[in-house]
């Protein structure tokens, strides 16, 4: 694989996807501290939002320590060179949230839908583009459909105005060939000025390998997370990704040692427990379930006495999609009543 001279935009997730393992309780001070360290390391894009995107504050997904607006204003103010992005899931967040984020100074909006439901994103993508923002269409759980199906949905998002399309491995299920197939087709068929991105989870420890496959197939943007802080076994560890790309001669503009400092000294200390490839995370990646289900399954295990990995397997078996956290408690109750 020759990536010599390739330019890659690294996008940090620890202040958005990392909100999942933190149960959305990262404080404003911690956000500012971590964003400052990532900014210092030259990470070009940092995502800051509730784990489930703008407007995710809820009984269903968890109420955050502070509002999206409070987080965004604080972080936008503290960074010198990084741009700040925000995630929006239509059906959870609305264009009102999008306008608020733009008003806070967010430069990138990522509009996320399940990989077959892109046509719910038209109004959000169109508005983001109209506001002059870098506008990303983010196709989640992209392992569940073929490369051709991903392309069809990507074309919709492109037609609404997205200037970048993501192939998103929300379950950490994909293997490098899965990534190659999807990204190759997107690169070949989308407009040449539309960027392609890849978002990985490390549930099968494939975060870096899959991201390399994506870049080799034509991806321009790669998501990762300092110290891997993200749902499931976390995201692609960003400092490892940056180091690997540096060794391969690709250009990221990131200072590897400063990024490693950010991970070690700023992100690691805030973890409630180590983000690791646990049995539950392995099941997410092996069976293909949405990574943020993990903590919900653990809480259901504690309450109903059924194994969390069995709950996650059942969630995968039912072909659930992102956002169906409310089914977890019900499945646990069903399993507990069958067991008794």
């Amino acid at each position: 694989m020759n990536l010599q001279g390739r330019s890659v935009t690294l996008h940090d997730m620890c202040l958005r996807d990392g909100m999942h393992p933190k149960q959305h309780q990262i404080t404003v001070e911690q956000m500012v501290d971590i964003a400052g360290a990532l900014d210092e390391a030259g990470v070009p894009l940092i995502e800051v939002t509730h784990g489930d995107g703008l407007g995710g504050a809820s009984v269903n997904y968890g109420f955050p320590h502070a509002s999206d607006e409070t987080y965004l204003r604080a972080v936008v103010d503290c960074v010198k060179q990084s741009a700040i992005s925000a995630l929006l899931l239509p059906g959870i967040g609305t264009v009102d949230h999008l306008r608020m984020a733009a008003d806070c100074g967010v430069k990138t909006i990522r509009v996320a839908t399940h990989c077959t439901e892109a046509n719910v994103s038209r109004q959000h993508i169109a508005l983001s583009r109209e506001l002059g923002l870098d506008t990303v269409g983010f196709l989640m759980m992209a392992h569940m459909v073929s490369a051709e199906d991903v392309l069809e949905q990507a074309r919709l998002m492109e037609s609404y105005g997205a200037n970048c399309i993501y192939c998103t491995d929300s379950a950490g299920y994909m293997l490098p060939q899965d990534v190659t197939d999807r990204v190759t087709l997107l690169r070949r068929e989308l407009n040449s000025d539309t960027e392609i991105g890849f978002h990985g989870h490390h549930n099968l420890a494939m975060g870096v390998a899959n991201s390399l496959a994506a870049i080799a197939a034509g991806a321009d943007r790669i998501d990762g997370s300092a110290a891997g802080l993200g749902a499931g076994a976390g995201n692609t560890p960003l400092e490892a990704m940056a180091a690997v790309l540096d060794r391969m001669g690709a250009i990221t503009g990131v200072d590897i040692f400063k990024l490693a400092d950010a991970a070690e000294e700023h992100v690691l200390p805030i973890m409630d427990e180590p983000v690791r490839l646990s049995r539950d995370a392995l099941v997410l990646g092996y069976a293909g379930a949405y990574s943020s289900f993990l903590l919900f399954a653990k809480r259901a295990q504690a309450k109903y006495g059924v194994p969390s990995h069995e709950i996650l397997l059942e969630m995968a078996r039912r072909r659930t999609v992102g956002g169906q956290e409310d089914l977890i408690e019900e499945i646990a109750i069903e399993m507990a009543s069958k067991a008794s």
Partner: protein, 299 residues
């Protein structure tokens, strides 16, 4: 023998056709018009059922109204075109039952506030909120009538195949309208709505989770009785409305989960989200028609 009230249906798609089939069984409402914008399969089907049809939109109804007047008009189009439809229809003196999320008229969730809507000055336009609202607000109200609810949140999970382009083009309208009705009709101080679309095959039956945060410690016995009573009321017009489990009570959180299977008149059974809209819309018109007959108001 009492004559049935007459109704027009705007929108000959899946929802309009399902509503037509429900009207065929109604003792109080007779569908006499189907309004579309082209000679579609739905228009042809309505013609076979013996309805008058228009392919010029609501203007066709306006033109033929004196010859074939109606008491009620169901709008099963989209929020984008509802305002104009409503203006033209109410000018004719017919009552608009709005199945779009436009929400020009007062919200109507039949087992919650239809009685009070009927007891006040009759509105010329009532709005059926959203599918998620029809499925969940009865449960929010079943809790709030027992004890004060500071916050209610609903999560509607629906099959991809049951979500039409009208909803997809303007999914925020679903979120906003449902949230607003959760507080105004459901009785919670604050409301929030979330919709999740799942493409699994075979399509999943509509499933809704209702989370209520009560101000005082939940009174389990009273809540269960109130919830059971409300489930039976909804089953009066949507027989496939069922509680999945006993309500979960955790601190001051009361979580209720329901499944909504439709009758399968024209829409498939999994599309309980659409069935509950057409059933609630028809029920609203039926109750209004009965009241008009009792009061002998001209129809």
């Amino acid at each position: 023998m009492k004559t049935k009230a007459k109704a027009a249906i705007i929108g000959p798609g899946n929802i309009g056709t399902d509503l037509l089939m429900k009207c065929q069984r109604s003792q109080f409402i007779e569908a006499t018009w189907m309004i579309g914008i082209e000679d579609s399969a739905g228009i042809q089907r309505a013609r076979e059922f013996g309805l008058r049809t228009s392919t010029d939109g609501v203007d066709g109804l306006v033109a033929g109204f004196s010859e074939s007047p109606v008491d009620f008009v169901f709008d099963a189009t989209s929020a984008y075109v509802h305002a104009e439809n409503s203006r033209k229809v109410t000018a004719l003196g017919a009552t608009m039952i709005d199945l779009t999320p436009a929400a020009i008229g007062p919200f109507c969730i039949p087992p919650v506030n239809l009685d009070s809507l009927l007891s006040t000055e009759p509105a010329d336009n009532v709005n059926m909120v959203t599918c998620g609202g029809q499925a969940t607000i009865p449960m929010v109200y079943a809790v709030s009538r027992v004890q004060a609810v500071s916050y209610a949140e609903i999560v509607a999970t629906v099959a991809s195949k049951s979500v039409g382009m009208g909803t997809r083009d303007n999914i925020d309208e679903f979120t906003r309208t449902t949230s607003s009705a959760i507080s105004r009709i459901g009785g919670a101080d604050e409301g929030k709505a979330i919709i999740i679309i799942n493409p699994a095959e075979p399509p999943l039956v509509m499933r809704d989770t209702i989370h209520c945060l009560t101000k005082e410690t939940p009174n389990e016995a009273d809540l269960r009785a109130s919830i059971d009573r409300m489930v039976r009321e909804v089953q009066g017009y949507v027989p496939g409305y069922t509680l999945n489990n006993a309500p979960i009570i955790d601190g001051n959180r009361v979580t209720i989960s329901v499944e909504v299977e439709g009758l399968g008149d024209f829409l498939p059974k999994y599309a309980g989200n659409l069935d509950i809209m057409t059933a609630a819309g028809l029920r609203t018109a039926e109750m209004m028609a009965q009241r008009q007959q009792r009061e002998g108001s001209p129809t």
